[in-house]
């Protein structure tokens, strides 16, 4: 809405500031006082509400009004308010307003403005959380100097900071190969999907050998890689199998026995470890055969002999507890 009078337009913006200040009294100052293109106003505002046992103290503040601000922000600064019946006579303006939404209200106002001062009164009625509200707000303002409104720069700075934080967070997810943070439907890092999958492709191209796999695993755990590969439509298991096959062919038993290649350990271990003397075997085989023993003995197969080990004597009901109970009985506690 545009107002017919420039004077009223200025006044209306101040009124808008006054409303906004109710919610933003604690907000950081977003202007620089002193020489500048904008107008610095001292504003005093007081609100009285029916039913309140004591009057609320007046609020005083300084407001920097942008010189190019128009009157379109007239009346309560809420999207769901409409101003009607605006009448101007001389330096006096009256108007009505209606606000809908969660806190609907109706009201009317009167403002008297000179070039460097204004005075106004607004009377509002409405409901809030089921209670009726009837309040009167009076305000006055006086232009006291000049200033520079920095609110737009501040908002821009805050947005830039938020963008920077988001970018850093997304970069961390990319660096850590965290697929969830990038491929989630609501992720703010959707732009990283392509670089993420390019990175996964790079890993896939090198991790198919023991050295490449080790390099990848020094940065990312197997579950993380598995999820990342899956998010990019690749199979980590295939890459792992390729690395293991390469490890077997190059006899990199340290890699094969590291826990990533247990299927190969079972197969190769039959040939390389079964029946060997532990102390007599080549030291290079130790990692492979340690893993083989761990896998095969736990399943009841005698790895060294290649035959099922002889059945043990029937164990007592709870042999561990029985044995250690004997120790406990002899201790002074």
């Amino acid at each position: 809405m545009s107002l017919p009078s420039t004077r009223l337009s200025s006044l209306a913006v101040l009124l808008g500031f006054a409303f906004a200040s109710i919610a933003s009294a604690q907000a950081p100052q977003m202007f620089k006082p002193g020489p500048g293109p904008d107008e610095l106003w001292d504003v005093t505002m007081k609100m009285e509400m029916a039913g309140m046992p004591m009057a609320m103290p007046a609020q005083q503040m300084q407001i920097c009004k942008r010189k190019d601000a128009g009157g379109e922000k007239f009346a309560p600064q809420k999207n769901d308010c409409q101003t009607t019946n605006v009448k101007t006579s001389g330096n006096k303006t009256t108007f009505d307003f209606v606000c809908s939404g969660k806190e609907p209200m109706t009201g009317s106002g009167t403002f008297v403005a000179t070039g460097d001062t204004y005075q106004g009164t607004m009377h509002m009625k409405g409901g809030r959380k089921g209670e009726e509200i009837d309040m009167t707000q009076t305000m006055s303002g006086r232009k006291v100097g000049t200033c520079t409104d920095t609110s737009q720069q501040t908002v821009a700075a805050i947005k830039a900071q938020a963008d920077d934080m988001t970018a850093k967070s997304c970069q961390q997810m990319l660096d850590g190969l965290y697929a969830d943070g990038i491929f989630d439907a609501k992720s703010a890092c959707a732009a990283q999907r392509k670089p993420f999958c390019d990175k996964v492709a790079g890993i896939a191209s090198t991790a198919g050998t023991p050295s490449g796999y080790r390099a990848a695993q020094s940065k990312y755990s197997a579950p993380v890689m598995d999820k990342a590969f899956s998010a990019c439509g690749r199979s980590f298991a295939d890459t792992q199998r390729a690395a293991c096959a390469s490890g077997v062919s190059s006899r990199d038993w340290s890699f094969v026995g590291s826990g990533a290649c247990d299927d190969d350990v079972r197969t190769v271990g039959d040939a390389q470890c079964r029946g060997r003397s532990y102390t007599g075997m080549d030291r290079s085989l130790v990692p492979l055969c340690n893993r083989y023993a761990s896998l095969m003995r736990g399943s009841g197969m005698n790895a060294a002999q290649g035959t099922p080990a002889p059945a043990a004597a029937p164990a007592p009901a709870n042999p561990v507890e029985q044995g250690l109970n004997q120790v406990r009985k002899l201790l002074p506690f």
Binding site: S294, G300, M301, N302, V320, G323, N325
Partner: protein
């Protein structure tokens, strides 16, 4: 704290852990049915028993006996290291030996290294005589210490682990002894050595390698002692540490102690931390 106090503390720690570990003992034992031929074994993780077979049944301990010998020598060393004159009986010892010569002089701490790393019987007998005057008196002290520690299944007839009717211990008792040895900084530093060069007072050098094949082969293994006699079979107390966890394995009377121990250590570390 008197020298024995540390040992008692170790036993207390283990026993208290055991008391709280009824649930741990309920874990299915992957070795119970047929995975090992050992007559007895015990696997302890982070102070809590995981799996065992006859852990309280007396067995021949072979050179695991030297764990107790080492504890008593360690206590004596706390009062000072001496030159030891090798007695004739030590120089004539059977079994594994350093080749000490009667009348030769060696530092007691050097003999301790030879006894633990190489399981040398001549060093063992020389140390027993140094601590107590003769082996019989030393063995009496060993038995007194075993009783004080509440090692009910343990009794010694000799200091070094030769088979004898009264030479016995159990997997549970040996786990306690192994824990006590590892609690001594001096002994813990020795039992993790893969090799050493021993030098006599006269400058004679003897290079030795450990009898513990797990050292340097199984990640995290830091000790402690092996044993073998015809009557005892292959025996082992091993301790491994990884990522703040500690696993103790005792295998007695096994024909495949290394393979057994490797599998037990790996599977114990694969169990969830408690």
């Amino acid at each position: 704290m008197p020298a024995g106090g540390g040992v008692r503390a170790c036993v207390a720690v283990l026993a208290l852990s055991c008391a709280a570990a009824a649930a741990a003992a309920a874990l299915p034992d992957p070795f119970a049915a047929s995975a090992t031929s050992a007559r007895a074994y015990l696997v302890v993780a982070d102070g809590q028993p995981l799996w065992g077979r006859g852990p309280d049944t007396p067995q021949r301990p072979a050179s695991l006996t030297k764990l107790m010998t080492a504890l008593l020598v360690d206590e004596r060393l706390a009062r000072g290291d001496d030159d030891v004159t090798i007695p004739r009986v030590a120089a004539a010892a059977d079994g594994t030996r350093l080749g000490l010569r009667a009348g030769e002089h060696w530092r007691a701490s050097t003999l301790l290294t030879g006894m633990l790393v190489r399981s040398a019987n001549d060093a063992c007998l020389a140390l027993a005589a140094w601590v107590a005057g003769d082996e019989a008196t030393f063995v009496a002290r060993m038995n007194a210490r075993a009783e004080a520690l509440g090692l009910a299944a343990t009794h010694f007839d000799n200091a070094c682990g030769f088979d004898a009717p009264g030479q016995r211990s159990s997997a549970a008792d040996l786990a306690v002894l192994g824990t006590a040895v590892m609690a001594s900084p001096r002994l813990a530093a020795i039992v993790r050595l893969e090799r050493a060069t021993l030098v006599s007072a006269g400058g004679r050098r003897v290079a030795i390698t450990t009898t513990n094949a797990l050292l340097g082969r199984v990640p995290g293994v830091v000790g402690v002692k092996t044993g073998y006699t015809h009557g005892a079979g292959s025996c082992l107390v091993a301790v491994a540490e990884r990522d703040g966890r500690r696993v103790t394995v005792v295998v007695l009377g096994g024909s495949d102690r290394w393979w057994d121990a490797v599998a037990m250590i790996e599977q114990a570390f694969a169990t969830p931390r408690r």
